[in-house]
Each structure stands twice: as structure tokens, then as C-alpha cells.
């Protein structure tokens, strides 16, 4: 153990806060200040009603100067609230900000006890312990970190595209990674969007083109993030380039390869309602505009089993020898915009699971409605292509269910169901559209008016009752529901049923998040730093959230959130350098035996072993000062700055004395 630090004659000032009645209502704050007045080391002691107020802070600043204080203690609320406030006040008075101590006598005392006398005794002990710590505090300087002013955006849907455009327009470079062959996400699959009935592709493709042409955006489609290391302002990202087997610069979209390919695959862009070839273009407006060879469904590339596509390619764009490769990028901020998936119908056995072809989900219906879809925009049912004369729409399929499925509301289904019903009625005016609902949630701008239009103008029948069972009888689908408003059990014979399936976390997201090491909420959506005040940042510094990856939302909200995330990235990049808290845990070489225990316990991978010197070393920028290594170190070589073992023992002695 190092020799105990000689306490030079430090002059500590104590400021005990009343916090109105929050503290003073239980703890006798005057008594605390009075008792501590004569404690060794304390040169000044007072109490005040609101220390965090302007006069309170001014009092601190003035007292530090007048009484020549070397350190101060503010006995008040939790440091998470006002530590920065008082550190700043100290700094303005010329005192090193790391010489201030916050003694929490609110959350740890007055808010959890009712016995005033004993609470006051406890407060005195708490303050005494902080005095002991303060007497040993050292001046510390914050660690300065450079910021790489480039951003990574993961996901090329509407949220990712918007964020990328905003960051790039700010003047920074953006790397946009999209795992599919084209950008566009789910929005490009939609037919029309609510509440305007704008053609989805018409409003999205301009953004897609803008992204592809933007001088500061590096668009990497058919790429996936492989690993991320580093920390905010200084990330190193390893990105895997999947082999397309087609050189996008040479492909001229003539389509000859597609014609000769013998392999037929369900088309995922059309939700399996039609087929594509193994060499394909996902949709006509795909960006980049190139064919892609799906190796999984190709007859074989090594050895080459077919080779027909290459034979007919005039531009010699097809290359079977392409291999997976890796790129390294350095970025300062990462925006995660990985989107969502729909809940699987297999989980809803009472609706037939996936047995019935004519029971479909919202995205499948979008493709049926779409002019570029498998039916050319004519509403036909998948099983036999007949135009359905009775369509039932079932809301809340797998949402709002605390028992077996997803407890939350998926937010967009009420609106898109109204949209679906309206569009169906527009195309099949003599058809019957029935919607089964529990509630209709239409909170956005012009949303309720939109829903009323469906009911009043398009005569969609809304029945308040959750569907219990759907089954097939002959040619029809029987839907069992109830009208809770009239108290009748009802049955509808439908030609087709559209289920508003719950929005769930994107498939495969957990693997990605393990690499990013950012947290999710209980439902697998990305966790925001604060549900109300910090909706687009993750608690992990440097990561920002946008779009449905953070939770179910509609397009206007996704765009707003993406722009907000971009603004936050702008905040980060506007700084000359980042400040990292200096209360880290350095290594005392003389005491370190190189046992390596601290390396294993560090959750931030901040420590490593120096093979030549046989001692541990710490990357102070990665270290978050959690203290796990300090607790684990058997020789005391790991001592946290301003929270050394000696300081902690002093605090304990102060609390346990008398």
C-alpha cells in the first residue's frame, strides 16, 4: 500500500442544503452545519435553503474566494442531479472542480427515513465521511479526446436515409451500411402512406437518389457491420462486404441474366406472394441499380454448376470469383436505424397459424395493393386470384397482449388498417370491408379525420370486439368476433383476412447489438437514455437511435427522430474535443504483479497486459471509473483517482466512530 497521503492543512468548506423541506423536513440541517463546524479540516460551515439556486451558487463562489477554501462539500441531493452545477461553480471561483464533494443526505437519508433525530445523526456521519475523503482529494484535469468527425449509419430505410442526409448536409462524411442489396427498407414496399395517401415509392425514391448522389455519403449496400471497437468520437468499425457476384459499375440492367436463370425463389420483396430468380433486382427503383446473385439459391458457384447468366452478360459484369471482403472505417458517432419486423403468424394458432393462404399480414396486403406488386395493384386473394368481395381486417393481432404475445401497442396498425380498408373499398366498391378493433388510436395530425373518412365516406364497418378465432370452411374464411357495443356475438364470412400483426424487433438484431454492446428494453427495442428527455441517444456514449429500432412509430415520427439523431451527432461533432472524466483507475507499476485479474473484470476492455514489463496498463479514455478493477486488485496497484482505498477506509472510520 502506498504511504498515506500527508494531509496538508486543507481548508474545507461545508454547505448544507435544506432543499426546501425535502431535506430540512426530516433532517435538522442547522444542527448538521453547527456540529461539523469544529470537525478537523472544516474551516467554514453553513446552511442554506436551496444551494442549487443562483444565490446559493454565488454563495459558494464568494465563500471559496473569501475564505481561501481548498475543497468544498455540498450536503444536498444526489450527485446525478447537481454535481456538474457545483463543479462549475467551483471552477468559476478558481478551485479545481474535482475538489468538490456531494454528500447525499436526501435520497440516501431524508427521503428514506422518518425518524428525524436518527436521520440527523446519519446526516452528520455522511458529511463527516465526505470531509475525510475531501481532505485526500487531488486536483484532477479532465482527459481530452479527439473526435473523428465522420458518422456511421446502420440501416438504409427511411430513418437511416434521413439521418444520413442531415448529417451529410451539415458538412460531415457519412458511411451508410445496409445489409440488403438495395436501400429503401420497409417503406419502399408500401403502396400508399397515411394520412395523405401519397404513393410511398414516389416520396421515398427522391431521398434514395439524393443519398446515392450525395458527395459526402459513402453508400455501402449488401454490407454488414462485423465488429466495432473503440469509444465515442473514436470508433473503429469493421464492415463485411458480401459478394454480389455482379459488378454494380458494369451492370446495365439489361435483364438477360434473369431470363436464363433456372432457379425460382419466393420473392421476399413481394412477401413471398410471387417469385424471382436467383439472380435478381429486388425492385425496379433499387439503388444501387444492379442485379445481385443470391448465392444461397444459385445452383452452385464453386464449382460452377450452371453459368448461364455469365454467358449472356454482354458487359461481363458477372464474376463468380467474388469473395467476401472487409473494410475498416473510423467514425466518431454511430446512428442505429435498423428498423423492425412483423410478429410471426405462427404464434397465433387461433387464427390458423400460417395454414391459410388467404390470411395475410399488413405488408403482404401492401404488396397486393401496390401497382408494382404481384397482382399489378388489383386486389386479388393469394390462394386462387379471385377478387375478394368480403375482407375482414383484424387489429391488435399479437399486440396489447400481456399473456402470450407482446404487451405493448404497435401504434401504427389503427391508421394503416383504416388506410387498407379505404384502399380496398376504392378498388372494390361493392366489396364489404369489416374492421374488428378494441380501440382506434389516431393521435397524429390529420389522423382522426382520416379514420372518420374511412367510416363515413368509404362505409367501412367497424366492430368493437377482438377476434377469437379464424378458420376455413369450404371457400370462405369464418371470423368469430363479438360486437361489445350491442352485446352480440358475430360471425363474418370473409374471402380474405388481413391481420394487423404486431411490430417487433428486427430479426437478427440481437447478434448485431452484441457487437455494438448497446442495451435494449424488455421488448428488444433499443433503449433510449431517458424515456422523456433523451429519446434519440443511447446510454452508451456515441450511439444514437432512429426509427422503429427504438420502438413502433409511423413515418412522420421516424423522420423527426432521424433528424433529431442527426442533430445530436452534430452536437458531438461541433465540439473541438471531448472531455472524459479523469476519475479513472491508473496502474501503480511498482505494486502490480501482472496477475491479470483486473483485465478480466473490466467491462469496458480498458485494461490489458504489457507483455514486456509484465504489468497491467489502462487506456484512460476507455476507463469509465466503475472501480471493478480496484476492488479486485489483490495488491492495491489499482487505485481510483479521488476514490482510493485509503480514502474509502477514512470514510468508513468516520462513519463507524462513536
Amino acid at each position: 500500500m502506498t504511504a498515506p497521503k500527508k494531509k496538508k492543512e486543507k481548508r474545507i468548506g461545508l454547505f448544507v442544503c435544506h432543499c426546501g423541506v425535502n431535506i430540512a423536513g426530516v433532517v435538522d440541517v442547522e444542527k448538521v452545519a453547527e456540529t461539523l463546524k469544529d470537525y478537523p479540516g472544516v474551516s467554514f460551515s453553513t446552511n442554506y435553503v436551496y444551494m442549487c439556486s443562483d444565490p446559493g451558487q454565488q454563495m459558494i463562489i464568494d465563500t471559496i474566494k473569501e475564505k481561501h477554501l481548498d475543497g468544498i462539500i455540498v450536503a444536498a441531493c444526489s450527485p446525478t442531479l447537481h454535481e456538474k452545477t457545483f463543479q462549475e461553480a467551483a471552477r468559476l471561483a478558481g478551485l479545481n472542480p474535482y475538489q468538490i464533494e456531494i454528500a447525499n443526505i436526501r435520497e440516501q437519508d431524508s427521503w428514506v427515513h422518518t425518524d428525524g433525530a436518527r436521520a440527523t445523526k446519519k446526516a452528520i456521519k455522511i458529511v463527516k465521511s465526505h470531509v475525510e475523503k475531501a481532505l485526500q482529494n487531488e486536483n484532477l484535469e479532465p482527459i481530452k479526446v479527439d473526435v473523428t468527425k465522420r458518422a456511421l449509419v446502420i440501416g438504409g430505410g427511411i430513418s437511416g436515409l434521413q439521418a444520413a442526409l442531415d448529417i451529410a448536409d451539415h458538412g460531415y462524411e457519412v458511411v451508410l451500411v445496409e445489409k440488403n442489396p438495395s436501400i429503401g427498407g420497409k417503406m419502399i414496399q408500401l403502396s400508399e402512406t397515411f394520412p395523405t395517401l401519397d404513393c410511398s415509392q414516389c416520396i421515398l425514391t427522391p431521398k434514395m437518389v439524393e443519398v446515392s448522389r450525395h458527395p459526402r455519403i459513402r453508400l455501402l449496400t449488401y454490407h454488414e457491420v462485423d465488429s466495432i471497437s473503440g469509444f465515442v468520437g473514436n470508433f473503429k468499425v469493421r464492415i463485411r462486404k458480401k459478394p454480389r457476384y455482379v459488378d454494380e459499375r458494369l451492370c446495365n440492367l439489361c435483364g438477360e441474366c434473369e431470363k436464363v436463370c433456372p432457379q425460382i425463389v419466393p420473392d421476399e420483396f413481394n412477401m413471398g406472394l410471387s417469385f424471382r430468380k436467383a439472380i435478381y433486382m429486388p425492385f425496379p427503383q433499387a439503388i444501387p441499380g444492379t442485379y445481385t446473385l443470391d448465392a444461397e439459391h444459385c445452383l452452385g458457384l464453386s464449382p460452377v454448376r450452371c453459368g448461364k447468366c455469365k454467358d449472356v452478360c454482354d458487359k461481363k459484369a458477372i464474376d463468380y470469383d467474388m469473395k467476401e471482403s472487409f473494410i475498416e472505417e473510423e467514425v466518431g458517432a454511430i446512428v442505429v436505424a435498423t428498423g423492425y419486423d412483423l410478429y410471426t403468424m405462427q404464434a397465433l394458432g387461433e387464427y390458423g397459424g400460417e395454414k391459410y393462404e388467404d390470411v395475410i399480414n399488413g405488408l403482404e396486403f401492401e404488396r397486393i395493393l401496390s401497382a408494382s406488386g404481384p397482382t399489378g395493384g388489383v386486389v386479388r386473394r393469394p390462394s386462387d386470384g379471385k377478387i375478394p368481395k368480403s375482407v375482414v381486417f383484424v387489429q391488435c393481432s399479437g399486440s396489447r397482449d400481456t399473456e402470450k404475445h407482446n404487451p405493448y401497442c404497435s401504434k401504427i396498425c389503427c391508421m394503416y388498417t383504416a388506410k387498407h380498408a379505404m384502399l380496398y373499398k376504392h378498388r372494390v366498391p361493392d366489396g364489404q370491408a369489416t374492421v374488428f378493433y378494441i380501440d382506434v388510436r389516431t393521435g397524429g395530425k390529420a389522423f382522426d379525420e382520416f379514420y372518420q373518412r374511412a367510416v363515413e365516406e368509404d362505409k367501412v364497418l367497424y366492430i368493437r370486439g377482438k377476434v377469437s378465432k379464424i378458420f376455413k370452411e369450404g371457400d370462405k374464411l369464418i371470423v368469430w368476433g363479438a360486437d361489445t357495443l350491442t352485446g352480440k356475438k358475430v360471425e363474418v364470412e370473409a374471402d380474405m383476412v388481413v391481420l394487423a400483426m404486431a411490430m417487433v424487433k428486427a430479426d437478427g438484431i440481437m447478434d448485431l447489438l452484441k457487437k455494438l454492446k448497446i442495451s435494449t428494453d424488455i421488448n428488444g427495442f433499443l433503449a433510449e437514455a431517458h424515456p422523456k428527455l433523451r429519446p434519440v441517444e443511447s446510454l452508451n456514449a456515441g450511439f444514437y437511435l432512429a426509427g422503429c429500432a427504438q420502438g413502433p412509430k409511423d413515418i412522420p415520427e421516424a423522420v423527426a427522430q432521424a433528424s433529431a439523431a442527426a442533430a445530436k451527432v452534430g452536437d458531438l461533432f461541433a465540439q473541438k474535443e471531448l472531455i472524459h472524466e479523469p476519475t479513472v483507475v491508473p496502474v501503480n507499476d511498482e505494486l502490480c504483479s501482472g496477475c491479470g485479474i483486473c483485465i478480466a473484470v473490466c467491462p469496458y476492455d480498458a485494461r490489458s497486459l504489457d507483455p514486456e514489463r509484465g504489468v497491467a496498463v489502462v487506456n484512460e479514455i476507455l476507463c469509465e471509473g466503475c472501480g471493478a478493477c480496484a476492488a479486485a486488485c489483490p495488491s492495491g496497484a489499482a487505485q481510483q483517482r479521488n476514490q482510493t482505498d485509503e480514502q474509502i477506509f477514512s470514510m468508513l472510520r468516520a462513519m463507524l466512530r462513536e
Binding site: 394458432g349 397459424g353 370452411e473
Partner: protein, 310 residues
């Protein structure tokens, strides 16, 4: 091997077909069924309110008896008995109040030596040591379909049978823990294992009317009709049940169904164990077919199923 078997009161009087066919079938699998001594009616209904704890006494008494006889598993074929025994077993394990009160009831139920008038056996609290299994589960998990398949003596040639689960076998799902309530597979897998074709139809877990066939026969008649009709529409040659009450509603009361719903021509109702016994080579006379109201003999005619091995 010996296996504890709880038939339930109805199987000994009104639906002996289910009892006999079960015994004969299990004999062919080298399993001797042993009934716990002095068993009584289980009570048929698991008490759904917190106050009716006394309703747990009879089923727990039976389970305790199984334990006393050295058994750790008891098998039953009647869905109602299965539900009562299984749920009572869970209640004893999970609710300390029920555990205390039922064991207190049973404590008085110890045998007294006739000569010395002293209690002859010590009493140990029953804590849910015995596992309650339905025969379908037992066949799937403990016997295994391969073993059954290896013992088949008759090839049922894919006879299309509609499995009828009814209500008690699967629900409430978290207590019965038998299978997924809306997409179950256990009965279908059984039928396939014995050489039948399991017919998929949407009414396999819909209520047959249950005890309402007594108090409100019209409602039950309609419920039974819907089940039978759905099975028939999906081309089943018969519907297989695991419960005497389902049998009563679907078979005995099929006359009433036909009288009310003239479009329904009829459908034989079988117990799943009759199919098992027949496939394992048991003689037709030992299947209890005389108890059926709707003639089912035709299905068991020799030329309907080919002999696999002698």
C-alpha cells in the same frame, strides 16, 4: 411393468369401453395397470373458487394413495379426471394454505387397526410427489411411438380419424401443460403412430356442450352438431375422444343432433384407446363396441385393416 392407473367412476359403469380397451391395449405393451386401493370419484370439477378447498380432498387422497403404494406416476384416460388430478396436484405444490388444509383433512383418513384401534400408519404430508399424466402424454413421452409402432399387429391403412381434444385436455394451458391450446399435436401424433390419418378440422378444441346437455340440452345439441359436422366436412370416417362426457354428447346424443339438424347423416365416435387396442391386435370383442349408440363396428371389420404380423 406395473403402472398406476386411475380410471374414474364413469369408466367402471357407463363407459367400460374406455376402461377395457385401455387395459387390453396396455397389456400388449407389457404394461400392467394397477388401480390405487380404495380410490373414489375425483369430483369431476376442479374447484375454481378459493373457498371450495374441500373439493381438492378426494383427488389428493387418490394421489397420496398412489404414493403410498410406491408409485410416482399415475395415468388416466378421462379428460375430466386428468384435469382435476393434475390441477389439484399443482395447487398442493403451489398454495401453502391449500397444502395445509388438505393435508389436515387427510390426516384423519389414516387406516385404523381393527383389533387394536390404533392408527397403523404414520402420516406424511402429500406434497405433489406423484406426477399425473394423461395416457396420450404417457404414450408419447414414456413409451415412445417407435415402441408402439414395433408392436402394431394391424395396419389401419391411414384411416382418417378426427382427433377431438375437447376442453379439459388442453386448457388452462399453463396448468395442463399438455400442448399448445390452439395448435396442438399430441393427439395427431398418436393417431399417426397407430396407423391412422389425423384429420385437421377447426372444431377440434371447441366445446361439445359439456354438462349443459342435462340442463340446457338444446344448446349442447347445437355445440355437438358443430363439432361433428366439422369433422365430417373434413372427411373423417370417425371422431376419436378421450372423455366419457364427450362420448355421451357426441355418441349417445347423436340421435338428438340428427333430429334437430336434418343435414347431418351421422359419424361414429370412438375412444382413442379402442384404436390403439385394435392396432395392437386386440380382439374386436374386447373393445366395448356394444356401448356405442352410433354403430362403429364397421370400422373394425377385419378387411378394413390388414394384418401386419401374426
Amino acid at each position: 411393468m406395473k403402472l398406476h392407473y386411475y380410471p374414474g367412476c364413469t369408466l367402471k359403469e357407463k363407459t367400460t369401453a374406455l376402461d377395457i380397451s385401455t387395459r387390453e391395449a396396455m397389456k400388449r405393451l407389457d404394461i400392467e395397470l394397477v388401480e390405487p386401493e380404495g380410490w373414489t370419484c375425483c369430483g369431476a370439477e376442479y374447484p375454481l373458487t378459493e373457498e371450495k378447498i374441500v373439493g381438492l380432498a378426494a383427488p389428493i387422497r387418490v394421489l397420496r394413495q398412489v404414493r403410498e403404494e410406491g408409485g410416482d406416476v399415475v395415468v388416466t384416460t378421462c379428460s375430466f379426471c386428468y384435469a382435476v388430478l393434475k390441477r389439484a396436484n399443482r395447487a398442493i405444490q403451489q398454495d401453502p394454505l391449500k397444502h395445509k388444509r388438505i393435508n389436515a383433512y387427510l390426516r384423519d383418513d389414516i387406516k385404523i387397526n381393527e383389533w387394536t384401534k390404533e392408527k397403523t400408519t404414520g402420516f406424511e404430508d402429500y406434497n405433489g410427489e406423484v406426477k399425473v399424466l394423461h395416457l396420450l402424454e404417457y404414450l408419447r413421452d414414456r413409451v415412445g411411438y417407435p415402441r408402439i409402432k414395433s408392436r402394431l399387429k394391424r395396419d389401419l391403412k391411414g384411416l382418417p380419424i378426427a382427433p377431438y381434444y375437447g376442453c379439459r385436455l388442453l386448457r388452462p394451458a399453463d396448468e395442463m401443460n399438455m400442448d399448445e391450446p390452439d395448435s396442438p399435436r399430441v393427439f395427431e401424433e398418436f393417431l399417426e403412430a397407430v396407423g391412422c390419418k389425423a384429420v385437421d378440422y377447426p372444431f377440434k378444441q371447441e366445446c361439445c356442450g359439456s354438462y349443459l346437455s342435462v340442463s340446457l340440452p338444446a344448446a349442447a345439441t347445437e355445440a355437438s352438431y358443430r363439432v361433428l359436422r366439422s369433422a365430417r366436412m373434413n372427411e373423417a370416417k370417425a371422431i376419436a375422444v378421450t372423455c366419457p362426457l364427450c362420448f355421451y354428447n357426441l355418441d349417445h346424443r347423436q340421435e338428438a343432433v340428427k333430429e334437430t339438424f336434418l343435414d347431418f347423416p351421422g359419424l361414429p365416435v370412438l375412444f382413442f384407446t379402442q384404436l390403439l387396442a385394435w392396432a395392437l391386435g386386440v380382439d374386436k370383442a374386447l373393445l366395448g363396441l356394444k356401448e356405442h349408440s352410433v354403430a362403429a363396428d364397421g370400422l373394425f371389420d377385419a378387411h378394413q385393416a390388414a394384418e401386419v404380423r401374426s
